[in-house]
Amino acid sequence: MSAPESEIVQFDNVGLRYGTDREILSNISFTLFPGRFYFLTGASGAGKTSLLKLLYLAQRPSRGAIRMFGTDVITLPRERLPAYRRRMGVVFQDFRLVDHLSAFDNIALPLRVSGVREADLQGPVTDMLEWVGLGHRAEARPATLSGGEQQRVAIARAVIGRPDMLVADEPTGNVDPEMALKLIRLFEALNRLGTTVVVATHDVHLIRKVPDSLIMRLDKGTLADPTGALRYPPRRVEAGR
């Protein structure tokens, strides 16, 4: 458990390049605080997904320092990373559902991975299926679901474990406005329970629906801070280095 005002994520001069190409992300520095709601905006190709990959520990930066939950995750031994991933819920841009598992089993997967008893997960998973309007599709395989239904399963899977941080990459891209609003309300409700939320989107309407949110904007791989709400550049991390 992090203390209320201690930062949950801190990026310090982070750069990312794929292979030997130019940097996709340059000089990224920001701090995320627990319990806040963040939007990450930017044109398509600006690097939103790349930044989120760094955040959900799927990608190593080419330079810079990243601290999460008070730990330097760059120098952390590989075998200690799963524990950090379990504290996050991720909605991938391409959903990443397991093809041969039912909607129910896909949503239950993070709970099973972190060792929740079957008896403890049946109820919440069923309720969650109802919440995202898929109660009648519990046994359906992802391939038989529409794009929007798959997206709702992906979101349900990301939030079911009540993560410390939720990272969602364009989570409302495939659903109608009504469902988009409902999903944002789900994120807000989770946020009120204490989860830090980071949503990448270029849907301005969606951003307006969450009045207290903070906005980060990516432009050609560098971070702008239009609301002034982010501490930028962040306080340097010197202790323990």
């Binding site: 799963p82 524990a83 991933r85 598992l101 709970l111 969650m128 309300r185």
Partner: protein, 310 residues
């Protein structure tokens, strides 16, 4: 606003390990659909057969050389049947009282004739060619050349026409050929084990390739390398169990069939190439080794692929 139905923090995690049935359904259930059980079954069957061959040859070499080392033949060549049988009896009495000799038997004349018939033709006794008297000797195990020389000296007086032969002398080349064959069988087993491991490695990699997405998803949801490796180990373990059992049954059937055919051949001198209980137990270990190799390879393959991910 209704509270979202998330699992509360109060729910304890880590109580129910993610393995066994809970984890197994992460892989598509294509049991027996893939090549894995069949590859393993064939490798096990062939290895069982090769191992059985090697063990049978081993037994044969051991028993034959034991038999040969402890047996000898005394020939008494004398044209006069009366002195011949007198010498034979004297030799037998002398030999029977010697401590090295376990048993001694004078072959009846008609048996000797039967033995010689293929070479001399029937009714050989009428010819000028004298039929030797034959005495079969069985010596204590571990009797050496010097013992035979001592026995020859012993006989020199009572039966001057006696000649003593160790059977091992003239069968030595056969024994060395059998022993070479045995080493070839063991070499074959080593090669098969290697090929089997390679086949299993390829099959495991193949399974991994078609499930790469699943692996990556579980990895990103916080599954540890060990959890993910176990899923594949379990899947391959089931395949290997089925394949190993099939292969063992097929191999046993083939060994029994071969055994029955060799028993019909029954070449008197080199009998005893059968398998004893310990040998059968060794054969039953073959599928266990195959399963161990399969599971180990699957684990190593999955782990090395996971290490390429952050």
């Amino acid at each position: 606003m209704k509270r979202p139905p998330v699992v509360t923090r109060a729910v304890e995690r880590g109580l129910s390990p993610f393995r066994g049935k809970r984890a197994a359904h992460l892989l598509p259930r294509a049991r027996l659909g893939g090549p894995m059980p069949w590859v393993i079954a064939i490798m096990v069957a062939i290895t069982v057969l090769a191992t059985a061959g090697g063990l049978a040859l081993s037994n044969l070499v051991a028993r034959a050389s034991g038999d040969l080392a402890s047996s000898a033949t005394v020939q008494i060549v004398d044209p006069d049947p009366r002195t011949r049988s007198a010498q034979a009896e004297a030799a037998r009495d002398l030999l029977a009282s010697d401590p090295v000799v376990v048993s001694v038997a004078v072959l009846p004349e008609d048996e000797v004739e039967a033995l010689l018939e293929p070479w001399l033709g029937a009714g050989a006794e009428d010819d000028a060619l004298p039929i030797p008297a034959l005495i079969e000797l069985r010596l204590r195990d571990g009797s050496s050349e010097t013992e035979l020389a001592r026995l020859a000296d012993l006989l020199a007086e009572a039966a001057p026409d006696a000649r003593i032969d160790a059977q091992s002398d003239w069968l030595a080349p056969v024994l060395s050929a059998l022993s070479t064959l045995r080493w070839m069988a063991f070499g074959l087993i080593a090669l098969l084990a290697f090929t089997g491991a390679a086949a299993v490695w390829l099959a495991a990699r193949n399974a991994l390739g078609s499930n790469r997405d699943t692996i990556e998803i579980v990895h990103l949801l916080g599954g540890s390398d060990d959890q993910i490796a176990r899923i594949f180990q379990r899947s391959i373990l089931l395949d290997a169990l089925v394949g190993g059992l099939l292969g063992l049954l097929a191999g046993f059937a083939a060994v029994l069939l071969m055994g029955a055919q060799f028993a019909v051949l029954d070449s008197g001198l080199v009998a005893g190439g059968g398998l004893d209980r310990l040998d059968w137990m060794l054969l039953a270990l073959v599928p266990l080794f195959a399963i161990a190799i399969a599971v180990y390879t699957a684990r190593m393959t999955v782990l090395s692929s996971l290490r390429k991910m952050l």
